[in-house]
Amino acid sequence: MPRLQTTAELETLRAEILAARDPAKPCIAVCGGAACDGLDSAVVATALAAELKNQGVESKVDFRVTGCHGYCNKGPNVLVGPGDICYFEVKPEDVPEVVASAAKGEVVDRLVYRDPVSGEKAVHMSEVPFYKHQMRILTGDIPRIDPTRIDDYIAVGGYGALAKALSKMSSDQVLQEVKKANLRGRGGGGFPAGLKWETTKNAPEKTKYVIVNGHEGESAAFMDRAMLTGNPHKVLEGLIIGAYAIGAQQGYIYTRHDSPSMAKHITAALEQAKELGLLGKNILGSGFDFEVELHFDVGIFVSGESSALMRSIEGNAPEPRPKYIRTSVSGIWDKPSNLNNVETWANVPEIINRGADWFTSIGSEKSKGTKLVSLSGHVVNSGVVEVPMGTPLRTIVFDIGGGVPGGKLPKAIHFGGAMGGSVPISMIDAPLDFDGMSKLGAPIGAGGLLVMDEDTDMVEIARYLLDFLVKESCGKCVPCREGMYQMLKILTNIVEGRGRKFDLERLADLTEVTSLGSLCALGKTSSDPLKSMLRYFKPEFEARIAAGSEAK
């Protein structure tokens, strides 16, 4: 493909791609996301490709393997367009029927969703309860895109926001739009992205960097991976727009070394964007130059912490650095570096395309837009969920998640992964937003939502989460390294019936000192789950300690 010289050429290319496609032509999309892949969706995909040939309908039916559709526990997911007919738990032996009915425009009745209680059918995506209550602004395109083909992204309007920003807006206008949209960082803290951009933009150094944090090392968090693997161009487009607003010349996508399909898709996306002139020198004839490099982690959770991540990109061990001078002023090689999470960047093209006013019309008072949530645990439907900020947890757990399986009662909701917190089910009507959740002691964090049923042992959960964190600490500072280790020892003793009566007092001291004295965010928040459990479930700890001493 030739390099695009102007924004008009991009629109011409888009028109050509769309002209070659017939919207009425059936298309079978197989989910190749992590969960479906684990359920052998690749076998289904191979069978589908062969069956299309076999039935001689290759020219009549389109076929693509896409990123994560979202409904992970019902995989392998197959979506047939037009009309988004959803098939669940598709096996290779179902393939001939799927192909034949797609060619004829019919529906395979036995593969569609049935309500587990009422038995009611739901054929189309918009009717399936799991999808019905969502607002899929960021993830909606994923089933329509083969992530390895830039054409698919351009066909759904991709890089339109970049063209708009470069041709019609100054870098200041882009920044103002993002500020006005009040886009808050999706990586955990909820810091306004626009303010962070502005700090980097105004820093005196000329060389500036922008970075996508695609590390996502938390347990029970898988939505960034779904986003970056399923639609890498959207994140890249956001990054390029951000770089333009900030005045950065170099970007990095920092991600995990252990997700081969994600690495493949990002590499392909970077190559294709470069080939089309959406990266490199003089992007779309605007005079703006920007390059992006893919960088992998070294397999430790703390690499996702901003200053450790930047040390890692420099080629050093990922040890956090004290942030009395912010990384947005002095980051990679002491140059101003703006780091945002995958989801934050993915929001940028939407804000530029549809405007800040549209964006602020979604969400709660102080948290705007939608939020991706990784829904898992003791819940009927699990997967990647996208809801407007401010949605009550009840909607997520019951309407989308379908409640707790096996007729059990829910006991607690754990939010925010290993450094998040647990709240009792009595707080299920709390809205999902940054400030509300932090007040309850379960900050949104990266967005992993774990439902726990009535049989859950909260002491064991606290121990399990600490066990994870102890292994992931870098070990540089004492309160994190030693504090967490001692907490883990005490909790292990309690779980194994060797708890002693002054254990709770020791735990209280350890959590306080660890959160006050640690160097980086990992240490500072490492005791949050334990703190929230001691706040809401203290009697369970006391009972375990008492039971332990009675047994002796």
Binding site: I300, V478, P479, V513
Partner: protein, 234 residues
């Protein structure tokens, strides 16, 4: 460079911009305890013992003084109930590893720390990193480094470098607060290059010269020590 005036424990200090709170305090004779700080080395912020309470623009915050740069009008309190508690718990955590290290014993007395508060795990090293950083930054030999992460982190001499460099230096032994650097070095020597260091390095003095003439004892004649860990006192 402009001078900055701040208040530490009620005393006024005027220091150049960019100075850390710890340095400013030292200049006016206010003592702040540290374990990982060394004037010849880059500021590290690992032990967190030098944590202080700072008040700036009406907000109280807890920061480590070895890294925090001074600000105009900053009010620093080097002792408070919370600061003392953090220090006490840190000392208690470290005493699980090195209960008899003189510096820790002294600090424990000052802050009322209980050496038996937490379950013992006598590794003898408190991972202050003085040896590692001294070897990197001052000697530039990189003979000792950190391995592993989190609670599994430990210091380790790299035999290939240690065999060449350590015999005539051993300066890290003196700055180690627990004597573990010495123990780790001797262990490395015993395992990786017993007796070999003498041949390759020019002896420092007559005593070393005499030592070098004594033939190395073949490993087969060395009686193995009992399997249990020997008691070590500092």
């Amino acid at each position: 460079m402009t001078d900055i005036t701040l208040q530490i424990d009620g005393k006024e200090a005027t220091v150049p911009a960019g100075t850390t709170v710890l340095k400013a305090a030292q200049q006016i004779g206010v003592a702040i305890p540290t374990l990982c700080h060394h004037e010849k080395l880059e500021d590290y912020g690992g032990c967190r013992l030098c944590l202080v309470e700072v008040e700036s623009r009406g907000r109280t915050n807890y920061v480590v003084s070895c890294l925090y740069p001074v600000e105009h009008g900053l009010v620093v309190r080097t002792r408070s109930e919370k600061v003392d508690k953090v220090r006490r718990v840190i000392i208690e955590e470290l005493m699980a590893h090195a209960p008899d290290a003189p510096e820790l014993v002294r600090l424990a007395y000052e802050y009322g720390a209980d050496r038996n508060r937490f379950e013992k795990d006598a590794s003898f090293c408190i991972l202050c990193g003085l040896c590692v950083r001294y070897c990197d930054e001052v000697k530039q030999k990189h003979a000792v480094g950190f391995i592993d992460n989190g609670h599994a982190r430990e210091i380790s001499f790299i035999p290939e470098i240690a065999a060449q460099e350590c015999w005539c230096c051993q300066e890290c032994f003196a700055i180690c607060p627990t004597s573990y650097a010495q123990a780790a070095y001797l262990m490395t020597e015993a395992l990786a290059f017993p007796g070999r260091r003498r041949k390759e390095i020019a002896p420092r003095d007559a005593a070393v010269d005499r030592l070098a003439k004594i033939p190395a004892v073949p490993m087969t004649f060395v009686k193995r020590p009992p399997a249990s860990k020997p008691e070590m006192t500092n």
